[in-house]
């Protein structure tokens, strides 16, 4: 057995004899177990509720009876954001983005039922999720496990004895790192096995198309993150003169990287790129609908131009002479213009979100915690980009539904006979229910290339740092 493995074995043996470490380890394992169980229960409950409500709403749509298609377009339906199985691991933005939306003609409604609305302000500190335990609490355990990895050896003199045996600093450092990695592996194994089993059991029935790949990537990302925490902790211990100094430095680093910096970046991004208030946003949309995007083309002018265009095109004197119901055409034209207005205003909002996220991504270069947080949400399907993808799919569905209603009205009813024409179940059945499938992990990770690069760069950087410090390591100064 090499010296490195001997050192790893010794470190593991000593760690398991430290009561505080064993106690903290058990607490972390219990928290992970609880978060996994609670997450699974919540996932199952929400899935059941969403499936039932989706079926109810579908039946309501199909059994709404005979009515005018435009009234049906206003009767509308609902779309529900399915809970992804990996959201039980990382809740991400689920509490803030809303779970369902009402779909009807003319209006792109905002999402309803944001769980955060029903919670106290304490939710801002984070719900107990597995990702929270792994991202925030586990680094604390690593700090307590490894802050004295070198300082204890230096303070007690065992480092002199170790190095007098001809053991290289490289073997000592990597032996310690290997030991802490194995300890974490032992501690996290039951949790990850549980997660894999749950993910596997629900994979065929989930909105994520590639649960297995995403789970594997999640585990890889967390392995890299925890490896970084371990290497940085060992490095700081190596560079510190006393255990107290090492612990204080590490706790300062933890507070800065895990608490202060992410909050500061979030606040700065809001200050640099402020979002308009909901009132301003809605007023802007109404104004554009009323007076046009240029502010000079009201609806009446747009409709008059459309009428003239159709009369000239079909060479007829009145709208009733057209071979279709012009009301259906004008409804759809109004819908198309409304869509353009929504796209314009939502693009503005998304551009601001994108700038805010960009700042977060840039910050992740300097902070592997932020990088891990972003990648974890993305792979769990609970980030903003996945939500935007869902929002786009829903909006596309709404537009398809309304277009189909307007086309039916144009094709099958007569001009001026609004209340006389009624469509029935045959038309309602033409509209499939809305069932969402999230994008593949490759698509989901695309906006996070900086975060991926950040983690890789940190790994290279810490290895370089350790290599450099190992060369200089002597048990005494001089």
């Amino acid at each position: 057995m090499s010296a490195l493995l001997h050192i790893a074995k010794k470190e593991i043996r000593i760690a398991f004899r430290e009561r505080l470490i064993v106690f903290l380890g058990i607490i972390i394992m219990v928290l992970l177990g609880i978060s996994l169980f609670a997450g699974f229960v919540s996932y199952e409950q929400q899935k059941e509720i969403i499936t039932k409500t989706e079926n109810d709403k579908r039946q309501e749509w199909l059994n709404q009876g005979d009515k005018h298609p435009h009234i049906a377009a206003h009767y509308g339906t609902f779309a529900f954001k399915p809970k992804t199985v990996l959201s039980l691991f990382d809740f991400g933005l689920d509490a803030y983005t809303g779970t369902s939306v009402y779909l009807e003609a003319h209006n792109q409604h905002e999402f309803m039922f944001r769980p955060a609305q029903d919670h106290s302000s304490m939710i801002r500190f984070g719900e107990l999720s597995s990702s929270l335990v792994l991202q925030v609490l586990l680094p604390l355990l690593i700090i307590f496990l490894s802050f004295s990895s070198y300082t204890k050896e230096k303070e007690s003199g065992t480092l002199k004895l170790l190095m007098s045996q001809g053991v290289s600093a490289n073997a000592i450092t990597w032996g310690k790192i290997l030991a802490y990695c194995i300890i974490l592996l032992i501690m996290l194994m039951p949790f990850f096995v549980g997660l894999i089993l749950i993910a596997n059991a629900t994979a065929n029935n989930d909105s994520l198309p590639d649960v297995a790949s995403r789970t594997a990537l999640l585990i890889t990302i967390y392995a890299i993150y925890l490896f970084l925490v371990i290497t940085i902790a060992v490095w700081i211990s190596m560079k510190s003169l006393t255990g107290r100094n090492a612990l204080l430095t590490l706790l300062t680093f933890w507070t800065f990287f895990v608490i202060l910096m992410p909050k500061t970046v979030a606040n700065l991004s809001e200050s640099f790129y402020p979002l308009p208030s909901m009132r301003e946003f809605k007023a802007g949309i109404e104004e554009s609908k009323l007076n046009g995007l240029d502010g000079q083309t009201p609806r009446s002018v747009r409709m008059a131009e459309l009428e003239t265009e159709y009369l000239e095109k079909y060479k007829v004197d009145s709208l009733s002479q057209l071979p279709f119901n012009f009301e259906g055409v004008s409804m759809q034209a109004g819908e198309d213009y409304g869509n353009m207005v929504y796209d314009h205003h939502y693009e503005g909002i998304r551009a601001i979100f994108s700038k805010q996220n960009r700042l977060g991504s840039i910050a992740s270069i300097f902070n592997p915690f932020i990088a891990t947080q972003h990648l974890s949400m993305s792979l769990s399907g609970t980030d903003l980009h996945t939500f935007n993808h869902f929002e786009n799919e829903v909006e596309e569905y709404r537009r398809m539904l309304v277009r189909r209603m307007n086309n039916d009205m144009a094709e099958n009813s007569k001009y001026g006979e609004f209340y006389e024409y009624a469509a029935g179940e045959e038309l309602w059945e033409e509209i499939d229910g809305f069932y969402y499938t999230a994008p593949t992990f490759f698509f989901a990770l695309r906006p996070y290339y900086l975060e991926l690069l950040s983690l890789l760069a940190w790994v290279v950087f810490t290895i370089f740092l350790l290599k450099r410090s190992n060369k200089k390591l002597k048990p005494i100064h001089g």
Binding site: R13, K160, S164, I476, G478
Partner: protein
Amino acid sequence: MLKSVNLTKKYGNFTALNELNLSVKEGDIFCLLGANGAGKSTTINLFLNFISPSAGSATINGLDVSKHDKETKQLLSYIPENLMLYPNLTGMENLDFFCGLGNKNYSKQELENLLLQSGLQADFMNRRVSSYSKGMRQKVGIALARAREAKVLLLDEPTSGLDPKASNEFSELLLEMKGNGVATLMATHDLFRAKETGTHIGIMKQGVLIEHFESDEVSFQDLEKMYLKHMHN
């Protein structure tokens, strides 16, 4: 076995060791005497390659320690003034661990024998080192030196703070190892122990080896006088 040629260590303007020339052959026990700061520990640390020389060289078995760190360390065993082992491991586990580092793998029985031969009571072998006295820890150090089959022993005031019985036992173990051809360089304040166990004695002052003789050449009284004379001048 051990040799230094013009070995010098400077810290800025301060010379901790000045052109030390000494040689320790197989079966020799070379005792370095001197007050605190005389350069004894600096010499040991230079042979251990824990610090780099400002000039000159330290060699073990003909190999420069600063150029052949791994090879030379495989030949030596080091026992500091206060041998610290891992307190959460037992004496056996500590010995097993340090033997393993040098690719020396022993059975449980062999490890027990090594500890017994080094004077550690059987009752204590499987107790955590945190309950050991200093003398017991030094015995584990001797057991380690035996286990590693060290050709060179570097001792930095190993009997300091030991009670007379433990100190005497330690000397007996050194003499036993001497009989096996081990070359020992020992820094010590203990004149009596140096005269009793040493084959050669050197007196150091302010980084310089000012006296160097075979221990048989002087009586204990003469050694004491010589030492005190140098310390007071």
